[in-house]
């Protein structure tokens, strides 16, 4: 294949993404530097970096950055560890395996808003939610999940949706594992953990890297789950960067500050991505 052809084939994706990058992002950067509030169309003009200043000096900003990182980190951990465990658990023939598989991956197909509504109203509600009912049955005081553990609740809700994705990827990858090698290891007397560390985990290195990467991208901008359940509260206990931008853009209608927040989110995302690639990137590409 000659070089021109390679370029030609690559061109469409690079060009469209470049446009997608340049047009909205440069508009966003531009908006972030001007005074632009939808509710005050008459106020205009270049304001330099004051939109950024306003965004990062918000009292909700430090907790929002922290919550964003906690949210991404814990959902990644939970979904990968749980996903691995469950994938290994069902990596054997048994009665009804097909049904078990279908049940396990179903949450991934549910819309995030629906997911959040179901958990909020039917599971975590302290009075008629099922958790409360279970607590009552065993004689415990029901926990008001969304108030007392707002961030944890959001983490649970998001993990419920994304662990199935990890299960899906891991269970398919496990099927391709060399069974003979495993049997040989068993005959050699290698225990479960020895097999897991020496055979399974290296085999799953790349799937794990891919799951981490894809999920990170989605979790950095989690919004619907927070909007529906806790509205970022109580206080700022479950406010993340995406929610903070929402408050600026669609409550305050301050496009300038919201755009500054958007630019900040991209920077933060790239920093996280660089760290993640340092950690797992070797498996990801080349």
């Amino acid at each position: 294949m000659n070089r021109t052809l390679v370029r030609l084939l690559q061109a469409p994706s690079i060009i469209v993404l470049l446009m997608w990058m340049i047009v909205p992002l440069s508009m966003t950067i531009y908006f972030s530097l001007i005074r632009y509030n939808l509710l005050y169309p008459e106020r205009t003009g270049f304001v330099g970096l004051s939109n950024y200043e306003f965004f990062v000096t918000d009292a909700a900003f430090p907790p929002a950055v922290w919550n964003t990182l906690i949210l991404v980190g814990s959902v990644l951990c939970i979904s990968v560890v749980l996903g691995l465990a469950i994938a290994i658990l069902i990596d054997r023939p048994f009665l009804g395996r097909g049904i078990v598989r279908v049940m396990l991956i179903s949450p991934f197909f549910i819309m995030p808003t629906v997911n959040a509504l179901v958990w909020k109203n039917m599971m975590m509600n302290p009075i008629y939610g099922l958790f409360a009912v279970v607590a009552h049955t065993i004689g415990a005081e029901p926990i008001d999940w969304l108030t007392v553990y707002p961030l944890l609740s959001v983490i649970i809700i998001v993990s419920w949706q994304w662990t199935p994705f990890a299960i899906l990827i891991f269970m398919t990858s496990l099927q391709s594992q060399d069974q003979e090698q495993k049997e040989a290891a068993t005959l050699d007397g290698a225990g479960f953990w020895a097999q897991f560390w020496n055979l399974t985990l290296p085999h799953l290195a790349r799937p794990i890297a891919i799951v981490l990467m894809i999920q990170m991208i989605f979790h950095l901008s989690i919004f619907a789950e927070i909007f529906v359940t806790t509205s970022g509260g109580p206080g700022t206990a479950s406010t993340n960067i995406a929610y903070l931008i929402y408050a600026q853009a669609l409550l305050q209608f301050d496009v300038g500050v919201a755009s500054a927040g958007g630019v900040f989110a991209v920077i933060l995302a790239n920093i996280v991505a660089i760290f993640l690639i340092r950690a797992v990137g070797k498996n990801l590409m080349v």
Partner: protein
């Protein structure tokens, strides 16, 4: 090759399915919220289409928060997506002052003077009406008469907060899952802050001083919020910090709450036997007062407005007139009975003997609505209009940020003093940025 062909075919099929939107000349698009009265309006729309051949009506229904952001984006960018918008008493005067809405003028048969004066005032700017009220509401106490009787207490028509607290204490039986009082706690300017503002008003508080500095650090707010947090912690249900209208409605209908202070519209739900287990045990009183009754109950209306610059102004106006007319109310009465008509807009509804007979809450509701005055809702003078909000563009953000702090205080994460301090700082920041001082 086969795969490629299938892919290409699939592409072509899906592309052909994408048709450009063709603007139909006599089709009007209406944005609205998913509330019971609006759903009824959608059901009755064929009657309007029959009476006005040639006009077809398309509906866009959204939840309240999304609707608000959608219509605001649309109207400020001249998006032209909607010909009639459902807006509230908060938006109408602000948008009217910006000339984003068509001023409304009606013929004699519409009888605009029949609309309750409080409603007309709240939806006007500079004496010009910008939105026609579809239904209106105030707030009041809804309580379980059976429980109160059992406790040997009564509820006066204009109770004080002290009395409400005593009643809540008497009705609470935690072991039986019975809570004396349920109040909103979910953060949001239209959620917990709508209620808390009325409470602060009656304690003598206000949102802004005359020089636009926020007044959240005043003793009045401190008293009010402390009272609120203590009351709900002692006699409220668990999970109050996440409760708003719907959550409490569910509790009330299940018989878990002794008292509930909220929108008058709730009265028609809690007295409806098909929804409520306690339909025949409900009674009503005016919102409690502390040092003043001024601003102790809120005033709100969902109203229909026509964005200026719509190309279908005539048709849009026609629909708006139809949906807010006396005839429409009669149409609903014919279809669903008088208990189900949209209330809070017209004097003639409350004068109607059939309505009085059907509704058990009509007097309390009318009294509450008539006693609310958006331009005079606080003990001290203020520069803003609105009972449970201040009709300025910044309020949505301020109210929501303050609401977050109040929820945190209710949840016990921070003290009331800390919450009010944070709230004051947040409000001050926004006002400064907007250039009020």
């Amino acid at each position: 090759m086969k795969y490629l062909r299938t892919t290409a075919l699939g592409m072509m099929l899906s592309m052909s399915a994408i048709s450009f939107k063709v603007a139909v000349a006599d089709e009007i698009t209406i944005a609205t919220v998913n509330n019971g009265h609006m759903i009824e309006m959608q059901k009755l729309t064929p009657k309007f289409e029959e009476a006005n051949p040639g006009i077809t009506v398309k509906w866009v229904t959204l939840d309240e928060g999304t609707l608000r952001s959608r219509v605001t984006t649309d109207i400020t960018t001249k998006g032209g997506q909607f010909d009639v918008m459902t807006i509230g008493m908060y938006e109408a005067p602000i948008w009217g002052s910006r000339d984003w809405l068509e001023p409304l003028e009606f013929g004699a048969e519409y009888d605009v003077d029949d609309i309750l004066p409080a409603m007309r005032d709240g939806l006007s700017h500079d004496g010009k009406l910008y939105a026609a009220p579809f239904y209106g509401e105030s707030s009041m106490i809804m309580y379980r008469k059976d429980l109160l009787d059992a406790a040997g207490m009564t509820m006066p028509d204009n109770p004080s907060w002290g009395h409400v607290k005593d009643a809540a204490a008497a009705m609470t039986d935690r072991d039986a899952g019975q809570y004396g009082i349920c109040l909103r706690g979910k953060p949001g300017w239209g959620d917990n802050m709508a209620f808390l503002t009325t409470m602060a008003n009656s304690f003598g508080g206000k949102w802004f001083n005359e020089d636009w500095t926020p007044d959240l650090d005043s003793p009045a707010w401190n008293h009010a919020v402390n009272f609120y947090v203590d009351l709900l912690t002692a006699y409220g249900p668990p999970g109050s910090a996440g409760n708003s209208f719907n959550e409490i409605l569910a509790l009330m209908n299940e018989g878990k709450c002794g008292m509930w202070i909220d929108a008058t519209i709730a009265a028609s739900f809690v007295t409806n036997p098909s929804q409520s287990k306690v339909a025949d045990k409900m009674a009503f009183a005016q919102s409690p007062q502390a040092i003043t009754t001024r601003g102790a109950n809120w005033l709100w209306a969902w109203a229909l407005a026509v964005p200026s610059g719509t190309q279908k102004k005539a048709d849009a106006m026609k629909f708006m007139e139809w949906a807010t007319s006396k005839e429409y109310i009669e149409l609903v009465a014919e279809t669903n009975g008088w208990a189900a008509v949209p209330t809070g807009t017209r004097q003639s509804t409350y004068d109607n003997p059939k309505f009085k007979e059907a509704a058990t809450f009509d007097e309390a509701e009318l009294k509450a609505i008539l006693s609310a005055d958006p331009s005079n809702s606080t003990q001290d003078k203020t520069p803003y209009i609105g009972v449970q909000f201040a009709a300025i563009p910044e309020f949505q953000a301020i109210g929501t940020a303050v609401g977050q702090q109040m929820t945190a205080a209710l949840a016990g994460d921070i003290s009331v003093e800390e919450a009010l301090e944070n709230a004051q700082a947040a409000a001050d920041r926004e006002m400064r940025k907007a250039g009020y001082y």
